[in-house]
């Protein structure tokens, strides 16, 4: 199971036939295992890492530090869940250190994000402070270097 997950994490488009060969199982067994992992929500989704900038689309991303007042019984969880529900919010992490939540927000323009932070995030009861940092350039995302100039320089045939 672990090896199956490792392979899928690197390439979700790999065929079940290839997986079956690599894992020395039948295709049906592989399908069953994947279905089980999906049911158990160990596999959460299959997404595609896209370089939108290269496609020509402008996207503005901000990383926002949020300070919260923890609530009785639920701590930070209830507030974090509220923040998660906004479509604009791509990522939410609870952090140690000077702030509590690290939130990544995406929008079409600087103005859209500023509005979102000012009107929606900072007005939530329990949010005491926000600090927004706008992202200037992505170099590496989810383990993938976006502009990688490393290439296969080997000769075609080597003894």
């Amino acid at each position: 199971m672990r090896e199956l997950l490792e392979i899928l994490e690197g390439n979700a488009r790999i065929s079940t036939a290839e997986l079956a060969s690599m894992l020395q199982k039948s295709e049906d067994e592989v399908k069953e295992q994947i279905a089980l992992l999906e049911r158990e929500k160990i596999i959460m989704s299959y997404s595609t890492l896209i370089n939108w900038e290269r496609y020509g689309e402008e996207l503005v991303t901000a990383v926002i530090e949020i300070n919260l007042t923890p609530q009785r019984e639920v701590g930070f969880d209830a507030l974090a869940e509220r923040i998660c529900r906004f479509d604009e919010v791509r990522t939410v992490f609870l952090m140690s250190g000077n702030f509590d939540l690290l939130v990544v927000v995406q929008g079409k323009s600087l103005k859209e994000i500023s509005n979102f932070v000012a009107k929606r995030l900072s007005t939530i009861e329990g949010v005491t402070q926000t600090r927004s940092h706008f992202l200037l350039k992505e170099y590496k995302k989810d383990g993938i270097i976006l502009e990688n100039e490393e290439q296969d320089r080997r000769l075609v045939i080597v003894p």
Binding site: N11, I14, E18, S21, M22, Q24, D152, R154, V156, I157
Partner: protein, 385 residues
């Protein structure tokens, strides 16, 4: 001037590489998928590259001690203690060389007198015979059999023994077959070497690329450390082929003799590569294991794929090669390789490039991406139908 008359007879006697022709064909074509590359497709892990860059910034640009940087020899010594519980003194038993290629060359030159014979199980890496000849020796090929998964036995070696037999040169995990010799197999070779007082030169460059089990180091067998010239390097396990860095381990007097040749011919291995090799041994194991896990998946994919195409092959247990029997195609290995590249643009190497016993086989390297392996399998399927 007619240079053919002036070339040394030993150089003239060496046959040109059987690979060259395919290289020339492939070089003129586009969209070739190559299963013909005997080196990792990974680029050296960044932490290793970065340590070399840092070394350059601090001015590591000089010669080093002939035997190699003390820190590198110390790391090699610790590595063998840790991995195989072998004691190699960093000042006496270790020589850092320019790849295993140099180590092999000078090891043979250090022990071979004109006319001495070296037993070489085939199929094997292309340099073994040539280096023996250049050292003045006579390579005596011993065919390993596919029925025994290309492992060699004392019974097969015995008929080739003569009073001139001085050494046996083995390379497992094997290029081109992917064969591995288990402990039991090696113990028999050890017994044979001891009975006939032979030197054992063991090229273990693919040792870390062993699947389904652990690599058996020949020197770690009972009583074998003193008799064994152990050759290893960083090229395959750490994806460092272009750095040209390897080493030889062995008896103090022998390493001293090798060092004598090395100091007059090579002086020392490049310092940049030595600095990188230190980092590889200190912190590189996790990257190496990741690459090995990836090769292992590709191995299973290509093994299954070739078998499904009806090309008989045994499951390789080490290195990154698979050696299918292609006689069912009705073609010779050379014809198979040439037609395949011309019609389907898949490059591989005919088994005969690695010795007569490679007849009817081709070597496929799976040091290439899953996508390319799958695409190559499809092309081979087209070719066969």
């Amino acid at each position: 001037m007619n240079w053919n008359d002036k070339l040394s007879t030993s150089v003239q006697s060496i046959a040109p590489s059987g690979i060259r022709k395919f290289f020339d064909i492939a070089a003129q074509m586009e969209d070739v998928i190559s299963l013909g590359v005997g080196e990792p497709d990974f680029i050296t892990p960044w932490s290793i590259r970065e340590s070399c860059v840092y070394g350059l910034e601090r001015g590591y640009t000089s010669y080093t001690a002939n035997r190699g940087m003390p820190e590198l020899r110390e790391e090699i010594s610790k590595h063998y203690k840790r991995r195989y519980n072998l004691d190699y003194n960093s000042d006496k038993n270790i020589l850092v060389t320019v790849g295993v290629s140099e180590a092999l060359d000078i090891a043979l030159r250090a022990v071979i007198d004109v006319g001495d014979e070296v037993l070489i199980p085939e199929p094997c890496y292309v340099s073994y015979q040539a280096c023996t000849i250049l050292a003045g020796g006579i390579p005596v090929s011993v065919d390993a059999k596919i029925d025994n998964e290309f492992r060699i036995t004392p019974e097969e070696l015995e008929p080739h023994l003569t009073p001139k037999t001085k050494a046996i040169l083995i390379g497992y995990p094997n290029n081109p077959t992917g064969a591995v010799m288990g402990r039991k197999d090696l113990l028999k070779i050890a017994e044979f070497a001891e009975a006939h007082d032979l030197i054992v030169i063991s090229d273990e460059i693919y040792g870390d690329l062993t699947y389904d089990g652990v690599h058996e180091c020949f020197a770690a067998l009972p009583n074998m450390q003193d008799r064994t010239i152990l050759l290893n390097g960083f090229s395959k396990a750490y994806a460092m082929t272009g750095w040209r860095i390897g080493y030889a381990l062995g008896n103090e007097d022998f390493i001293g003799a090798m060092t004598k040749i090395h100091q007059y011919t090579m002086l020392c291995a490049p310092i940049t590569a030595q600095v990188a090799a230190i980092e590889a041994l200190k912190n590189g194991e996790k990257y190496m294991k990741k690459m090995v896990a990836e090769y292992d998946r590709r191995r299973r994919l290509i093994y299954d794929g070739l078998n499904k195409l009806g090309l008989k092959c045994f499951e390789p247990k080490g290195a990154f090669y698979i050696f299918p029997d292609i006689t069912s195609s009705g073609l010779t290995a050379e014809e198979f390789a040439e037609k395949l590249i011309r019609t389907e643009r898949v490059a591989l190497v005919p088994g005969t490039a690695f010795g007569k016993s490679g007849t009817g086989h081709v070597r496929c390297s799976y040091a290439t991406s899953i996508e390319k392996i799958s695409a190559a399998l499809k092309r081979i399927e087209n070719f066969l139908s």
